[in-house]
């Protein structure tokens, strides 16, 4: 076993959810779930593919849990996610350049592997 250098002793381990899971440019898919009760992801986004445009700091309590008075330990990041209008609406009547931006909580995003 090799001796640890002093830098190893100061290596900080972060808790799950403390650091953002996604970074700018990551391709994501919005989960296809239909929870009963309070949710913050509009239905038109389910299963749609987008790209992380920004990580919104700081980490926030999950609004969907907070709606029921549960907020301990549910702090994670929101992301500003970019979608093409043509991805959201088949037959979109407008310029193919048009897009949508929305903030989505981490628990709703799935990684899309290229």
């Amino acid at each position: 076993m090799t001796p640890r250098s002093s830098s190893d002793l100061t290596h900080i381990v972060t808790a799950f959810g403390e650091k953002p899971n996604f970074k700018i440019g990551d391709e994501v898919r919005v989960a296809d779930r239909s929870p009963i009760g309070h949710y913050r992801v509009p239905r038109y986004l389910r299963r749609k593919h987008g790209r992380i445009e920004a990580v919104i700091e700081p980490a926030f309590v999950d609004n969907e849990e907070e709606g029921f008075g549960r907020n301990a330990g549910s702090r994670r990041h929101y992301y500003r996610v970019a979608f093409q209008m043509t991805e959201l609406w088949p037959g979109y009547d407008g310029s193919p350049k048009d897009g949508l931006r929305i903030e989505v909580f981490e628990t709703w995003l799935e990684r899309v592997c290229p």
């Binding site: 926030f60 209008m85 959201l88 407008g94 931006r101 903030e103 909580f105």
Partner: protein, 221 residues
């Protein structure tokens, strides 16, 4: 009483005004709100004065605040940079605008390539700390549904035609972020003071449904 009599007697108040009243039954939600409010006060979660104070907080926020922020961004490149980097801290530090609802503010800059529009499809999220209460149409389902699915048609109904080579970018506000559109400074305003510029910035320009104009054109032209 003749019309002329009415005019001369107007301030004497010898005539009957219609009674100011609410003849209809309160709706289900009006009654629900009243019941919950009274219960919360009764149980001492908060007092009636705190509700009144919160109404004063909301009343103190109007589009005139947002207009000042926009005009400052047009004349002060340093402020503009900070505003685009973090809308909330720039408004707090330079204007003392507090974010009492603990929301973040992203300021969306309109350019020759991008036109921004804001909406809240789920409810009525709106940059209240800087603009006050939203207009009624912003809260109604036709705008909320159509702004995300056919934004160019919605814009056209407000008289705003965006060329096809310009991206229409809709920001849907759902949870912790509020948006404010930083419109393009109109041409021909090079000699305007900051106050004069603020006078061109209306509520609707900061929602993104129209662009600031020097003059409103009538149908004739």
């Amino acid at each position: 009483m003749t019309h002329a009599d009415h005019e001369t007697e107007h301030h004497a108040h010898d005539h009957q005004h219609a009674e100011v009243s609410e003849p209809q039954q309160p709706s289900y939600y009006d009654m629900l709100e009243t019941a919950i409010r009274e219960l919360l006060i009764e149980r001492k979660y908060f007092g009636a004065d705190e509700i009144r104070r919160q109404i004063e907080v909301l009343d103190s926020r109007t589009p005139a605040l947002g207009a000042k922020v926009v005009a400052r961004a047009w004349v002060d490149p340093g402020f503009r940079k900070r505003l685009l980097a973090n809308g909330r801290t720039a408004c707090e530090q330079d204007f003392g605008i507090s974010f009492y609802d603990d929301t973040e503010l992203i300021v969306l800059e309109n350019t020759d390539k991008v036109h921004n529009l804001i909406v809240c499809t789920l409810c009525s999220c709106y940059p209240r700390p800087v603009l006050g209460l939203p207009p009624d149409w912003y809260k109604l389902k036709p705008y909320r549904a159509r702004a995300v699915s056919e934004p160019r048609k919605v814009l056209a109904e407000f008289g705003t035609i965006i060329p096809d080579d310009v991206e229409v970018r809709v920001s849907d506000s759902t949870a912790v972020v509020r948006y404010l559109v930083l419109p393009k400074r109109p041409e021909g305003t090079e000699n305007f003071t900051e106050d004069e510029l603020a006078g061109l910035v209306t509520r609707d320009t900061m929602i993104g449904v129209v662009e600031p104009k020097l003059e409103i054109r009538s149908a004739e032209g």
